[in-house]
């Protein structure tokens, strides 16, 4: 593939104090890629995701979104984006869906969804409302548009959060354990929405513990261990026994966990 990757991450490093959480991670995501990032807790996968849109600042490495590199500077306070303007512009292209939803609790669902388009992208309100209603229809919560987040179930909140991120028309969406905070019976409705997005060729990077999603929906699986990419490949190869011994052990462990539960 010679086309510019939607997202290119080069040699990301990050330490918290003396503890090195990310030890040089590189990755390219092309148009329509759905990449599942797996790993035991503490393997650095969430930190990796948060470094991509600079919710955490990596100590070293480059992030390139749609061919544009986020310029960085280093001052006595540490490393940060050189231009907040550039960072904010690039962030509009990088959606993020959080484990804990993070809907704005003082706004209704509809207000949550039009907030970015109206107040960040400065698009006409009527147009944004129409789009937001279509998005809510798509994720199946159109009847909840005037509710406040506190009055929704976890699964509904997460679907609203996905709609909020889609409203910005991002080039890539980062999912940070989107189903980990949900009751088991609500996981399915969120995974269905994500599967639909994958089918529409949305570029997605998904940190998850859902083996079924990794195996059946993504086209690439990355296994992180101790702050590095331990092995990666297609789900067929990875789940077909071609992953590293650590990965084999990891999926065996996950399967017994699921059986126990």
């Amino acid at each position: 593939m010679s086309a510019t990757p939607r997202l290119s991450v080069r040699n990301i490093r990050k330490s918290f104090g003396a503890h090195e959480v990310l030890r040089g991670i590189s990755l390219d995501a092309h148009d329509g890629d759905v990449i599942s990032v797996l790993g035991a807790s503490g393997s650095g996968k969430s930190t990796f995701l948060r470094c991509i849109n600079l919710l955490e600042t990596a100590d070293d490495g480059d992030i390139v979104v749609n061919g544009e590199e986020i310029t960085m500077k280093t001052t006595s306070h540490g490393r940060s984006a050189a231009s907040r303007k550039q960072l904010d512009r690039i962030r509009t292209n990088l959606g993020m869906v959080f484990q804990s939803f993070n809907l704005w609790s003082h706004m209704t669902i509809l207000e949550n969804i039009i907030e970015g388009p109206v107040h960040v992208q400065k698009r006409p309100r009527a147009e944004c409302v129409a789009e937001a209603e279509a998005l809510l229809e798509k994720v199946g919560i159109a009847d909840r548009k005037d509710y406040y987040p506190a009055h929704l179930s976890g699964g509904q909140k997460q679907r609203a959060a996905i709609a909020r991120s889609l409203a910005m028309k991002p080039k890539v969406i980062l999912f940070d354990e989107p189903t980990s905070a949900l009751d088991p019976e609500l996981v399915g409705e969120v995974l269905r929405v994500m599967r639909d997005l994958a089918a529409e060729k949305m570029t997605m990077l998904v940190v998850t513990h859902e083996m079924g999603f990794a195996r059946n929906v993504s086209n690439r699986v990355i296994f992180m261990r101790e702050g590095q990419i331990d092995c990666d490949g297609t789900p067929q190869d990875m789940f077909g026994g071609k992953g590293s011994p650590y990965f084999q052990q990891f999926i065996r462990h996950m399967e017994t966990e699921n059986d126990a539960a």
């Binding site: 993020m96 993070n102 704005w104 609790s105 970015g116 910005m168």
Partner: protein, 240 residues
């Protein structure tokens, strides 16, 4: 009935003066709440800052203004302010004592105290906002100032209402101390009426009742504001 004559609005009655005093109490407290809101917000921001000297300044402010008697602050502002005004007057060639306007001095003194309490209210309210909601704003590329206006401030106000109710009631009662500067607010007027008619019981009880009218009325205003702001809260939390 002598009582009705004394409390009435006739020539011998204190009614008009007392109601004027009550209005003045309300005005001076509103002014001090406004002054306290501005200074309190700045102090709260200082205490939440990641610069150590700003935090130290904020902490010093709240420690001093919450730890020193209100009356002392009022004396300090009124007499301190007056001697400053007098000194300026003398420099401009005006002889004699120049008093600082007592309304201004009172509103400023109570406002400075109120600011210390309001700062704590705002700081607590800020802390109550889930950090993830601010991250969500950053993640869609919302600039920091817009995030402050759209996401942080509306929620600070919502979380601050119960605490502000408290501060308001404290300030309303602190405003009685301004009577020492001679401002004819409710306390001062009651005092004068009681002294000159020697009907101490009656006038102080009436004064007390009028303070209760002010506090219970404002309690209602705050409660309805709280109910309105709570419509986005989970069921059973703050809903009536």
């Amino acid at each position: 009935m002598e009582i009705f004559t004394l409390l009435g609005f006739g020539e011998k009655g204190w009614g008009v003066l007392i109601l004027t005093g009550m209005a003045l109490t309300l005005c001076v407290t509103l002014a001090s709440l406004a002054i306290g809101a501005v200074i309190g917000a700045i102090i709260a921001a200082a205490k939440l800052s990641n610069r150590w000297w700003a935090r130290a300044l904020g902490t010093a402010y709240t420690t001093i203004f919450r730890g020193v008697p209100e009356l002392l602050i009022i004396y300090l502002i009124y007499f301190g302010g007056s001697s400053a005004v007098t000194a300026i007057g003398q420099a401009m060639g005006i002889q004699g004592f120049l008093g600082m306007p007592s309304f201004l001095a009172g509103a400023l003194a109570v406002g400075l105290i109120s600011a210390a309490y309001q700062a704590e209210v705002y700081r607590g309210a800020y802390r109550a906002i889930p950090k993830g909601e601010i991250e969500a704003a950053s993640s869609i590329g919302m600039p920091p100032m817009r995030c402050l206006r759209r996401i942080i401030l509306p929620q600070i106000l919502r979380f601050a209402i119960p605490g502000l109710n408290n501060v308001w009631q404290l300030s309303l009662k602190d405003s009685a101390l301004i009577s020492v500067t001679g401002l004819a607010e409710l306390m001062r007027t009651t005092q004068v009426a009681a002294g000159s008619t020697r009907q101490y019981f009656m006038f102080y009880i009436v004064g007390g009742l009028l303070y209760l009218v002010l506090t219970s009325f404002s309690e209602r205003v705050f409660n309805s504001a709280e109910r309105r702001s709570n419509k986005s809260m989970p069921r059973g939390m703050g809903q009536v």
